[in-house]
Structures are given as structure tokens and as C-alpha cells.
């Protein structure tokens, strides 16, 4: 973690007793309310066309503050890029939204649902329409491409319904369309484990599409991709926004420039700057902590 060199830019934290909060929040039986206070909710949304709000979230691991009072509001249909140096809390933020990590304090909520997402299990959050693409492509390697999409398809996910499941014609059409969209139509019967790296990434994006999500979280989609593959990925991501809200975590600034309308810079667990790419890139604080030197 490269935090020491940049500590001057952050309000200094009392580093003596954060362990207490860490242990307290890890209790399995949480007594926090399961519903977000409506007054607070309105104050956070403040009339924006928001879809997902992350409100005042703090997370610490064994005393290390991964996120500090972070607030992030995502509007309907936007394509947002999250950038920030290593250890800025990008992945932790994704973990909190998808329920993998439980925060010490703060709430996450969807504007159309009363519940506090930090109180739900991963699969419940997925059912609500928040889907995530991992940094490494994780597809079901032993299943065919088609089966991967079938499993991801939106619908009932209980044991009982799976036992008697039959694809409806409409669902078949959906899968066909997604196969077309991610360019794997000819590989439908191929085992996902045999796909090339880039194809796996697209398949994973396709699986997210099949879930018909409201919010799509995409973690470093072009890591390890060839130039052509990343261009295609940029096209794919751009075509997804509009209907859905897409959040992309990415290091590659050229890639960010090619897709993003709005960029949020995280630094040491908080939002440092937010705005379009040019504004952000010329912000002196961002230049100092992240870019190192101004770009030409």
C-alpha cells in the first residue's frame, strides 16, 4: 500500500484504536436496522435521478481504514469510471455494494427498494439487480458457454424451480441475443474453460447481461487483453450503459478516456474528485496523488 508518501493530502486519522470498530462490526448477528431511514434517504438522493446510493460507508480491516465516510451516488443509465491508486478502496467499495464485505457504518441502498443492502446476503443483492464482474474472469469452466448464460439468466433461483426448469422460447431468444452481443455465437457449445482470456471476459459480461441487472459493476475489464480486445470491450460497455448503470474500475487511463462520461477518483478510502475526465485529470489534487505528473 503506497499510503505513506501521500498522507499529507488526507485529514489525519487517529491511528490508535481503530481495531475496536473492526471487531465490533464483524459480529454475525447484526442489530442494525434493515431498512434505510426515509428522511436520510431523501437527503442523500437530493432529487437526482439516482439508482444506487452509497451513503457514508466506513470499513476497516484490522485497523487499516479501507473506506472512510465514503458517499457515492450513481445515476440511472450512466457509465461511471472509478479510478484511484492501489489501496484507494475501489475493490473494497465493490465488495461492500455486493455484500461480500460488511461495513462498520453507513448504508447502501437502491432508490426503488427500502432495504439496506449492507444487511443482505450476496445472492439477495444479486437478485435485486446488482451484478458484478470480477477482476479475474470467473465463469463456470466446466459448463458450456450456453449453460453459463442459462445459469445466469434472470428468474427464480430456488432449488425447486431449478429442478423443474425448462427454457421458455423468450428465454432462448434472450440467450441468443446475448451470444450475438458478446460475439460468442459460434462458441455456444464450447466449454467455457476452453475459451481464450478475452472471450471469457466477454462471457462473464454476457452472464451479467443475462441477469438483467440495474447496476453493473465491472472490475478491471481489460486486464490482460490485447488492444483489439479492449477496443471491443469498450464498445460493449458503452452499448450497455443507458439502459443500465455501469460502474467500471480501471487503471488504464486511455481506456477510461475512451468510455467514461464521468469519473470518480478514490484516494485512501474517500472520494477525492468527481467529474468528467478532463476536469478530473487537470485537478491538481488528483494529479498529485494519482497521476504523479500532469499528462501532456
Amino acid at each position: 500500500m503506497s499510503t505513506s508518501a501521500l498522507s499529507s493530502t488526507v485529514p489525519t486519522e487517529p491511528t490508535t484504536a481503530p481495531e475496536k470498530t473492526a471487531t465490533k462490526s464483524k459480529r454475525p448477528w447484526s442489530v442494525r436496522p434493515r431498512i434505510v431511514d426515509p428522511v436520510r434517504r431523501e437527503k442523500v438522493v437530493a432529487g437526482r435521478p439516482a439508482v444506487l446510493c452509497v451513503d457514508d460507508i466506513s470499513v476497516s480491516f484490522d485497523g487499516f481504514k479501507a473506506l472512510t465516510n465514503l458517499t457515492l451516488i450513481l445515476d440511472k443509465g450512466e457509465l461511471r469510471c472509478l479510478i484511484g491508486p492501489n489501496g484507494a478502496g475501489k475493490t473494497t467499495l465493490m465488495d461492500v455494494i455486493t455484500g461480500k464485505t460488511k461495513p462498520d457504518s453507513g448504508t447502501v441502498f437502491l432508490t426503488h427498494d427500502a432495504r439496506d443492502l449492507t444487511q443482505l446476503a450476496e445472492y439477495e443483492i444479486a437478485e435485486l439487480g446488482i451484478c458484478r464482474k470480477f477482476q479475474r474472469p470467473t465463469v463456470f469452466a466446466g459448463h458450456s458457454v450456453y449453460e453459463n448464460l442459462e445459469l445466469a439468466l434472470q428468474g427464480k433461483k430456488s432449488v425447486w424451480s431449478s429442478l423443474f426448469f425448462r427454457l421458455t422460447p423468450a428465454q432462448k431468444t434472450t440467450i441468443e441475443e446475448i451470444l450475438e452481443q458478446i460475439g460468442l455465437h459460434e462458441h455456444a457449445a464450447v466449454r467455457a474453460g476452453q475459451l481464450a482470456h478475452g472471450q471469457k471476459q466477454w462471457l462473464e459480461i454476457g452472464m451479467l447481461l443475462a441477469q438483467n441487472p440495474k447496476v453493473l459493476l465491472v472490475d478491471e475489464p481489460i486486464a490482460g487483453m490485447t488492444h483489439q480486445e479492449s477496443e471491443r470491450t469498450a464498445e460493449l460497455l458503452k452499448s450497455l450503459a443507458g439502459e443500465r448503470t455501469v460502474v467500471v474500475v480501471e487503471h488504464d487511463m486511455d481506456f477510461v478516456r475512451s468510455i467514461a462520461s464521468k469519473v470518480t477518483v478514490l484516494h485512501q478510502g474517500s472520494v477525492l474528485a468527481e467529474g468528467d475526465i478532463d476536469t478530473v485529470q487537470n485537478d491538481p489534487r488528483v494529479v498529485e496523488v494519482y497521476l504523479g505528473e500532469p499528462r501532456s
Partner: protein
């Protein structure tokens, strides 16, 4: 972590797969009874009674192997305690057989002999109703199912996985073995339940009863196979394999792994209970020795030898290992455990996907 099944599910469930099932049913379900009952004892083709009983036992082991394949091969959860579910099913059936002895026992009492011996004067409450065959059969399925459900609920909810889960299942079967060893528990202690005379009025020592039990076991195996086959080829089966391969992904796609694991686990235990209930009238005894940890490990070896996640591999493994066991325990009794151990090591090293996998590779080469 778990090798891809070398024999694809598709090959298993093709027309030729069904043909194989048909042939197996013909041979095991019809040829054996005919050779045993329909051919006079003097003929060379006659199948002696002890072989029928032996094959009947193998069929029960086949059911157990399928049950383990469902939870281990397809769901990736290695249970080293399935002997306990098998034994519980056996005990339920044994209790019925014990009560149907009636006053023909050594002590000429309506109570089972061991209770007379312990100076008990009435049936304990948990023995009531077991003079009814349907109650006993229900208990043989429900009791293992309930135990598995309760055990699985806490284990899976706490996200206990891998080797930790396997160790706890060993502890489970060991603990129940100790419990059943006690005379006070009320299941005949050390000696278990034995000296059965009749099942539903039919004399257990008559060849026709033995063949009938054999046919019932064959039907049980066929039924189990069809159930497992339906599950693993349904979407639920694909979800189970998805959970086995990448549990986190399955969760983010919206499946609750706990429920799926619990389903496969409980069903697996129920099937083992069925196998135990079919097994006990054929061997004539059930005692806590069935719950020995080593027994459950051997059950897992059947599946490992046969090949995981192929279904027919599990049945093959159960037949193969038990066939070898019957042969070697007669030919060189002291060597059997060494042979079993070497077999397991050899399979792990050279055929990680078992006999079924090796066959599949041969087929692809030719």
C-alpha cells in the same frame, strides 16, 4: 481443485447410455433371478443362494455409491460419514424385523431378546410403531434425512467446506457409533439387531424370499439411478456443479449455495437410508460396526475408484471394490486392507477420474 469428469454427461445420457441401463436391468434384474430360481440346482447354470445374497448386497452398495456421487462428485462435498445414514436406515428396518420375530426368540418373550436380557419389561417409546412395515420404511428414509438436514443446515450455513467438513462427518459417524454401542441406548448395543426370522410373513431363509429381496434391491438401485440422473441433468444439477466449481460466482449469479447443498446432502442421506433398509434383511444383522469411520471411508473409495460425477462410475466402483473385497477376504484375509489402501493410492495417482474416466479416454483414442 476437482478434475473435470472425463466422461461428459452428454455421453452418459445419450441413447447408448439408456441402452446400457436397459442391458444392466435385464442382466441384473431378470437374468439373475431366473438363473437362481428357474434353473434346477443340479444344473451348471444355477446361481447359488449365497451369490444372490452377495449380489443383492452389492446392489445396496451401488445405491450408497450413487448417493455419495451426488454429493461428492457433483456438489464437491466429500462426506466421510455416509455409513451413519446407511446404518440408521438399516436399524429402522432391523427394528421391524426384530419385532416380527415375536415370541419365537430364545426367551420366548414378545420383547426382543436383548431387552429381556437387560431386564426391560416393555418396549421403549421409540420402538413403538415399528411392528408396522410402512412405519419402519418411512423411518428408514426420514431419520437419516432429518439427521442430515440438521447437520447440514448448521455446517453449510456456517460455510464449513472441504476437509473440515469431511472431518466433522467422520466425527458424526464415530459419535453415533459410540452411542449405539451402549446397551442403554436401546438398540441391542454391541451385538446390534440380529436373528431375524421373517419379513412381512415371508421366511427370510427361503431362496424365493432372498431372490425377492434381491429384485427389490435392483429396483431400488434403478430408482436411485433415475432420480440422480434426473437431478444431474436438470438445471439444478448444473447449479450443483457450478457451486462445486466456483461457489462465489454461483452466489453472485443469485443462487443460494446453502439451499442447494442442503438439498443434495439430505437427499443423499435419504438414499443411503433406503440402501440400509434393503441391505439388512439380506445380511440378517445390523450392528454399530456399520458406523465405523473406516466403513464410511471405504464408501468414498468406491466412488473414487469408479470415477466421480458420472453416476455409472459410482455403481461400477461399488461393484468392483466389493467384488475384490469378497475375493481377497476369502483368498488372503490379512492382506485386504493393504490391497484396498494400495488401490486407493493407485487410483489417485494414475486414474484421478477413476475407471469411468479411463474407459472414456480409451474410447476417445480408438
Amino acid at each position: 481443485m476437482i478434475a473435470e469428469p472425463a466422461v461428459g454427461l452428454k455421453a452418459l445420457h445419450s441413447k447408448r447410455g439408456w441402452l446400457g441401463v436397459g442391458v444392466a436391468v435385464l442382466v441384473m434384474g431378470i437374468l439373475v433371478p431366473v438363473l437362481s430360481l428357474g434353473v434346477p440346482a443340479s444344473s451348471a447354470l444355477h446361481l447359488p443362494d449365497y451369490l444372490v445374497a452377495l449380489l443383492g448386497k452389492f446392489l445396496c452398495y451401488g445405491i450408497v455409491a450413487l448417493a455419495i456421487d451426488l454429493i461428492w462428485g457433483f456438489t464437491g462435498i466429500l462426506s466421510l460419514g455416509h455409513g451413519v445414514f446407511f446404518a440408521l436406515g438399516g436399524y429402522a428396518m432391523g427394528m421391524y424385523l426384530m419385532l416380527s420375530i415375536g415370541a419365537q426368540g430364545v426367551y420366548k418373550s414378545a420383547l426382543p431378546d436383548f431387552m429381556v436380557f437387560l431386564d426391560w419389561h416393555e418396549l421403549p417409546w421409540f420402538w413403538r410403531g415399528f411392528n408396522n412395515l410402512s412405519v419402519a420404511l418411512c423411518a428408514a428414509l426420514v431419520v437419516p434425512g432429518l439427521l442430515a438436514f440438521a447437520f447440514g443446515y448448521f455446517a453449510f450455513r456456517s460455510r464449513i467446506r472441504g476437509v473440515y467438513f469431511s472431518i466433522i462427518t467422520q466425527a458424526l459417524t464415530y459419535a453415533l457409533m459410540l452411542l449405539f454401542f451402549r446397551n442403554e441406548t436401546g438398540f441391542g448395543g454391541n451385538n446390534g439387531l440380529t436373528d431375524f426370522k421373517s419379513l412381512y410373513g415371508y421366511d427370510l431363509h427361503r431362496p424365493s424370499t432372498k431372490v425377492a429381496l434381491y429384485v427389490l434391491s435392483a429396483l431400488g438401485l434403478l430408482l436411485t439411478y433415475l432420480i440422480c440422473r434426473y437431478i444431474v441433468t436438470s438445471k439444478a444439477g448444473r447449479v450443483l456443479r457450478a457451486i462445486r466449481d466456483v461457489e462465489s460466482r454461483a452466489m453472485f449469479v443469485g443462487f443460494n449455495p446453502t439451499n442447494y447443498k442442503l438439498f443434495a446432502w439430505t437427499l443423499s442421506a435419504v438414499l443411503c437410508g433406503l440402501a440400509g433398509a434393503l441391505y439388512v434383511p439380506q445380511v440378517g444383522i445390523i450392528n454399530p460396526g456399520e458406523m465405523q469411520p473406516a466403513n464410511s471411508i471405504e464408501m468414498a473409495i468406491w466412488v473414487a475408484v469408479g470415477g466421480r460425477a458420472t453416476l455409472f462410475g459410482a455403481i461400477l466402483g461399488a461393484f468392483l471394490v466389493n467384488g475384490m473385497r469378497s475375493f481377497f477376504t476369502a483368498a488372503m484375509p490379512n492382506a485386504w486392507l493393504y490391497i484396498l489402501g494400495s488401490l486407493f493410492i493407485a487410483v489417485t495417482l494414475f486414474f484421478p477420474d477413476g475407471v469411468a474416466g479411463a474407459l472414456g479416454r480409451l474410447k476417445r483414442k480408438s
